[in-house]
């Protein structure tokens, strides 16, 4: 005798999960998106190891060489190998995205969960804070803070990005928490003597894991873009190499005017690919987790 009438809506997460996996591997958007990101990530992670270079900014060859078998992406005006820079840059860019997105996600979660769960005055106050940060044109603030402290490292850059890019995510998480808070299992956990932070961590958060993951993906992409903008304006880290810094360098040293497209195109393309792929993957995930979107 089966005790499992598969009624719609009551279908629990396990089924959703099993289904999710089923749809995930069949979702073209998700697979292409994540696949592309993964390829780039691996290039960034393994590239430097494989190449065995430690200083991507060294002058290693004749300047301005077009792509060749020896220098896959050619060389810069200084004779740096663009491909070496590229793989290192990927690393930095991923780090900036992960860190910035991560910090933003953490803040968003703290604010969103607290506001959504506690409600009342706390909610109002946090909401106010969120709105203030939301309305302030953060890039302008970033520019200024950057100019003030001067950014020397990717970590600091990511910190600033994280500190300014969380509001929309906090809002979204707050809304979700708010609706989950009303669910009875939260009250039941209270009746089992769980404290508020533990309820949030153990009951509410696991329920929105897919949502949180999607939020993180978007924050990650946003971070990558902001970081590259900052790098480009010359407010990036002064050491090392990132895709944004490569773009900045290429522009400042007139790569396009001098016809060194191989210096200018790959980093921009990679940023576009990373961010675009993340967004596409996000839509894919959305379709996987949201049956309504699946049929279309």
């Amino acid at each position: 005798m089966t005790t499992t009438p598969l009624t719609e809506g009551r279908a629990g997460t396990r089924v959703v999960r099993r289904e999710a996996l089923h749809f995930a591997v069949r979702n073209g958007k998700l697979v292409t998106g994540l696949g592309l990101v993964l390829v780039l990530l691996l290039t960034g992670l393994l590239g430097p190891v494989v190449l065995g270079v430690t200083a991507p900014n060294e002058y290693v060859a004749a300047p301005m060489l077009p792509p060749s078998a020896e220098h896959w992406f050619g060389t810069t005006t200084f004779g740096q190998d663009v491909f070496t820079q590229f793989v290192y840059g990927l690393r930095t860019t991923f780090a900036a995205g992960a860190l910035g997105g991560g910090i933003a996600a953490v803040i968003a979660m703290v604010v969103g969960f607290t506001a959504g769960y506690r409600g009342g005055l706390v909610d109002e106050a946090l909401n106010m804070l969120t709105n203030v940060v939301l309305v302030i044109p953060t890039l302008a603030v970033l520019l200024i803070i950057n100019a003030y402290l001067g950014i020397r490292s990717v970590a600091v850059q990511a910190l600033f990005i994280g500190l300014t890019s969380w509001p929309w995510a906090a809002r979204a998480i707050r809304a979700q928490t708010f609706s989950l808070r009303g669910r009875d299992f939260v009250d039941l956990a209270r009746l089992s003597g769980l404290s508020t932070p533990r309820i949030i961590a153990r009951e509410i958060a696991p329920n929105m894991s897919s949502y949180l993951f999607m939020t993180f993906i978007l924050l990650f992409g946003g971070s990558v873009l902001i970081a590259s903008s900052l790098d480009f304006i010359g407010l990036g880290p002064t050491e090392g190499v990132s895709l944004g810094l490569m773009l900045q360098n290429a522009t400042q040293w007139s790569a396009l005017q001098l016809g060194l497209w191989w210096w200018f195109v790959p980093p921009g393309l990679a940023i576009t690919a990373i961010v675009g792929a993340l967004y596409v993957a996000n839509v894919g995930l959305d379709e996987v987790f949201n049956p309504k979107l699946r049929i279309t």
């Binding site: 005790t3 039941l188 956990a189 003597g193």
Partner: protein, 307 residues
């Protein structure tokens, strides 16, 4: 055992609590051990709010709730004795986890030192107590269980504690007619073991099935309360009468109660929502006694003849 004394709940809504909603206004009643009190009223009449206040999930604005003479202080000690089961069994389980996590949480909160094997034994006993087969329900995800099973597991969960009072908030409204009866029968069994139950419902027929006493709420205030057979058998308040008349019965046609035009208590229009007015009325017109323990919120009870 449980006493509510002139309990009022005012919700603040709007920016920084700009507006207020009186969900419950001046409600007093009590629940004795081994007794089922059913709380009846339309949607929005404040039933759940009362339940939540008793469970300490919502703070009381004014008035007192006492348990065995001591004021309610939500915390582990209190929840050892007072537990709740809610309307929607499906939403009581975190869909991400297996259903028996509700037991695990209880262990974590109250019996962290009990050895696992001993605990397992207790859980199985409790599950059997609610007439479920442990092998059939343990280790499954909520969606793999039926509503009745889930609801019964929640009751089993409450039974793991030294329970004195169970707040059952519409625990059957999401269930099929047949399962519903099973759960109600279970409650009836439990009360014979001395458990006090506050049975919240808007379904009048279910209210009468179990309860010794019935409290009828309207707009956050008590309209009529007393022994169930008196309240249902001889409803004195026009609102109670109208409510009863609207219940569809299998074997009887819908009746329209004679409009009681002379009655001050009677008002047409939507009943829910205006708790403030109701509270005001209840406070002004003290409850009049229509029979032994049968109280009616009516200033001129004498003018209202028994039906």
């Amino acid at each position: 055992m449980l006493r509510l004394d002139n309990v009022t709940k005012v919700f603040r809504t709007g920016t920084f609590g700009g507006r207020t909603v009186t969900a419950v206004g001046g409600v007093s009643f009590d629940v004795r051990p081994g007794e089922v009190v059913s709380l009846i009223g339309e949607s929005g009449s404040g039933k759940s709010t009362i339940g939540r206040m008793i469970l300490g999930l919502t703070p009381v604005t004014s008035g007192f709730i006492t348990m065995d003479g001591a004021p309610v202080r939500p915390g582990k000690d209190y929840y050892r004795a007072v537990q709740g089961v809610f309307q929607d069994p499906f939403s009581c389980y975190n869909p991400v986890f297996k259903a028996d996590r509700v037991f695990a949480l209880v262990k974590e909160g109250y019996f962290p030192r009990v050895p696992a094997a001993e605990w397992e034994r207790r859980v199985e006993a409790a599950v059997r107590d609610v007439r479920l087969n442990p092998g059939e329900v343990l280790g499954k995800y909520p969606h793999q269980l039926s509503g009745g099973q889930l609801q019964r597991m929640l009751i089993a969960r409450a039974l793991l504690l030294d329970l004195k009072l169970l707040v059952a908030d519409e625990i059957t409204s999401m269930l099929d007619a047949s399962t519903r009866i099973d759960v109600l029968n279970l409650l009836a069994e439990l009360k014979t073991c001395g458990l006090g139950v506050l049975y919240v419902t808007h379904d009048l027929s279910l209210g009468t099935y179990l309860a010794e006493r019935t409290v009828v709420l309207r707009g956050g205030a008590v309209v009529e309360m007393g022994p169930t057979d008196l309240v249902f058998g001889d409803p004195r308040h026009p609102y109670t009468r109208a409510l009863l008349a609207a219940v569809p019965r299998l074997n009887a046609p819908w009746e329209d109660p004679a409009p009681v035009t002379s009655c001050l208590c009677h008002e047409s229009g939507p009943a829910g929502g205006d708790g403030r007015a109701a509270a005001g009325r209840a406070a002004a017109g003290r409850m009049a006694e229509a029979g032994p323990g049968h109280l009616v919120a009516c200033a001129r009870l004498a003018d209202c003849p028994p039906a």
